[in-house]
Symmetry: C2
Subunit: 465 residues, 2 copies
């Protein structure tokens, strides 16, 4: 047979595949009708997992790569859900979560109209960046450090980060293990994009920062939720995590101190999770951006022997350099190599003078210490005040810059509370559903001054009384 | 039938789909064997297009979305090629193009070892940024413009850009039509990611900046090449473009003045391409980063009535602000909205003080004018000198900051020439294959001083003699 004959056969088989997808969609429509009758949602994570499981099991002996199967399943499942949504109409569309950024936009809108607000939503400390940093930034711009740099970062900064990692964590990072990024977000995105292929899944311990889920979804991958609860102190159990790991799970995201709860898990628990990850060959992405705002012993991924890991962090919180947009990642040279490709495609490099500002930050440890102490004072202050509000319960944060109270006796949706607070009392908070399935929780950020925190919480108490 | 019954049927059909993919892969192996015998490459763009065409035609009547079909085909074709590469071994892997950045890295390596080089590869003008910009940047950092901003950009900059667009192009851009980005690269990436879905295709007029192709491939989409030639003055024809547009084509990238050729197409041709794009419902992405380095009449997408377009640009070249990493895009509020989501996911915002520096840039038109004049001088100088080298032929650039000569009487691979030049004469250039199928061309950048250009070209002449 000639190539053309084979190709004709390929076209014929491909046609049959598409036909079968058509048949599949007919079934999806019937499922949608049945769901309507039974008042069931379109999204059914468990049913999807059962499908993936049974197909992967079948395929283990077959001539198709697991990678390909997962990609195909990802496309097929999306298509099925689209078909079901069409049948069920607009009511069936996935509920849009309120993001912290959406909340911030609503608040900014009001502020622009002249209203004075108590901003307990902004995840940004109101501290000033270290004087040395401001100086170094200016001096670098003035001396025309205004050029493209290596995507990894200027060698001086990469070296300085490696020295910092040694001092801060006792970790010897080779320069090939480091990349400088435009903020922690980009580090996390590039890391996930380097680790994951379409259709694969990632474990997310909720509640957590919504960015992780958004990045996973942008990449066409599946977030798998490890749900934790206030009444068990936001503690994930190793068994719970193990039970959630599927054949297609490639990573788990850990971030302690946690945004929004302030939880820090124990060194032992952290170690057990790493052991499990090693056993299951999955990568740990440890986002350690709040690591300097920790008020109990806080493990770092660098303290352990993880077979595959990425640490992401940033100058934003510890050094109050949010608006400089600079962060970093530490990983294996292999993963960092992939991250460099993505960074080189999308951004070339971080602004050169910002990189010199970051070097000065690494020489300003005193400021980090002072910021950390100030944040502790704010946590103590907020906790004292929140305890006086009878209708709230919460865990005192072990670190971070947030408190995540639950409204006792249940409210259905803290989003309504948030909008009411904003409109009637001029206080902005972030509803719990931004961070996972927590409709009766909300997040208070301690980024603003003690006065703002005090008055903001007083007003929350007033409204809840 | 119950939902569970339907689900069992879905699993069964999905299993058959995977089985067919297995059969398909068996055929791919046979094709690989036949290709080995006939010494044919794995990648066969035309065969892929025939497959897509015939499947899409069949599907027009069927119960499967075109979106879904294209995604499935994209996965299947990738899988087939992987299978074929496994059969054919490492020799069959796609040839890695040399990127300008790879060339720059090799050069930087040599420089660090102490070697003095004539850098004719760097796409960065050696001009200084405007004094006002440096001042504004410092003053913004010092006054603590160091916070997160709106993802779109601070309102003052967005407003200033809108005023600039009016002044520069007579275009009235609403603020919802603008987004500030960390460089032109990010603007282009976010634009393509907003326009394209997996498996769709984009027309690229080659030679061009390799970033476009890399972004399209990262997104799982198909670049379709419109090849242009020196002997027809790098002119794409409208018929040629029309012939390349497929059902799955969603965009065409134009960038004039062209990197690397310096070509500017006529206002009329530009208009005809837009008319064609409107007729075919495809989006024009016009990258106008070299627009101020134009020495013949240079059309902008804003001069026309394109139904769907994105303009991307940057402060890097006109204002010599490469290391500030700031650019912008103008499009419909709908596309800009999608771009904002991507930017908000990956980077939050451009550094606040950098945005204030950009406002100062927009007030420094005199500097742009001076830079433009200096670049013209360099083009004239380079052209004069290159004309003396008998073995080279080229088109005198209409604009931009590069010349793209062809080595007469053919060399097989300008990469070898580039390495030889670098090692033996200390001159770095970028081989033509970085920009498309141009193995006997190379790019000279005019970013460096007149002295460097003169001596660099002299050495090229020496080697070629």
């Amino acid at each position: 047979m000639s190539i053309d004959d084979y190709r004709r056969q390929i076209i014929e088989i491909t046609g049959r595949i598409i036909e079968l997808i058509g048949e599949r969609n007919e079934l999806a429509k019937k499922i949608a009708e049945a769901k309507r009758l039974n008042n069931m949602p379109v999204d059914d994570f468990e049913a999807e997992e059962r499908l993936i499981d049974s197909i992967l099991k079948e395929c283990n002996n077959k001539a198709v790569d697991e990678d390909t199967v997962l990609k195909i399943l990802s496309v097929l499942m999306e298509d099925s859900k689209k078909v079901q949504r069409e049948v069920l109409g607009s009511g069936a569309s996935t509920k849009q979560r309120i993001t912290p950024m959406a909340m911030a936009s609503a608040a900014m809108e009001l502020e622009r109209s002249g209203k004075k607000l108590y901003r307990l939503d902004v995840g940004e400390p109101n501290f000033e960046p270290p004087p040395k940093v401001v100086e170094a930034c200016c001096s670098a711009v003035t001396s025309f450090k205004t050029h493209y740099t290596q995507t990894r970062g200027v060698p001086e900064l990469v070296k300085a980060l490696s020295v910092y990692l040694k001092r801060r964590h006792g970790y010897d990072a080779r320069l090939e293990q480091i990349v400088v990024t435009p903020g922690g977000r980009f580090a996390i995105f590039a890391a996930l994009s380097s680790i994951l292929k379409e259709g694969e899944s990632v474990l997310l311990v909720e509640p957590n920062w919504p960015m992780y889920r958004e990045a996973v979804e942008y990449l066409g991958c599946r977030p798998i939720v490890v749900h934790t609860e206030l009444n068990t102190n936001w503690e994930p159990s190793v068994e719970q995590i193990e039970g959630k790991i599927k054949q297609h799970t490639k990573a788990i995201v850990l971030s302690y101190p946690c945004n929004p709860t302030g939880k820090i898990i124990s060194r032992q628990k952290f170690g057990e999770i790493i052991e499990l990850a090693n056993k299951k060959h999955i990568t740990i992405l440890s986002d350690e951006i709040y690591n300097d705002y920790a008020y109990s012993d806080c493990p770092s991924i660098l303290d352990y022997d993880a077979d595959s890991f990425v640490l992401t962090s940033s100058f934003s919180k510890s050094w109050a350099m949010t608006g400089f947009r600079i962060g970093w990642a530490v990983s294996s040279p292999d993963i960092i190599g992939k991250m460099l490709k993505i960074a080189s495609l999308m951004i070339t490099s971080v602004p050169e003078f910002v990189q010199y500002a970051a070097i000065a930050a690494l020489e300003s440890e005193d400021v980090v210490k002072r910021n950390s102490e100030r944040m502790k004072t704010r946590i103590d202050l907020a906790v004292d005040q929140l305890r006086k509000i009878r209708s709230l319960e919460f865990m005192k944060p072990d670190g971070g810059m947030y408190v995540f109270p639950k409204v006792r006796d249940g409210i259905k949706d803290a989003s309504e509370l948030a909008m009411k607070l904003l409109r009637e009392r001029g206080v902005s908070i972030t509803p719990g559903e931004a961070f996972g399935d927590y409709p009766d929780h909300f997040r208070i950020s301690l980024g603003q001054s003690e006065d703002v925190i005090t008055e903001g919480i007083r007003r929350i108490g007033e409204l809840l009384r």
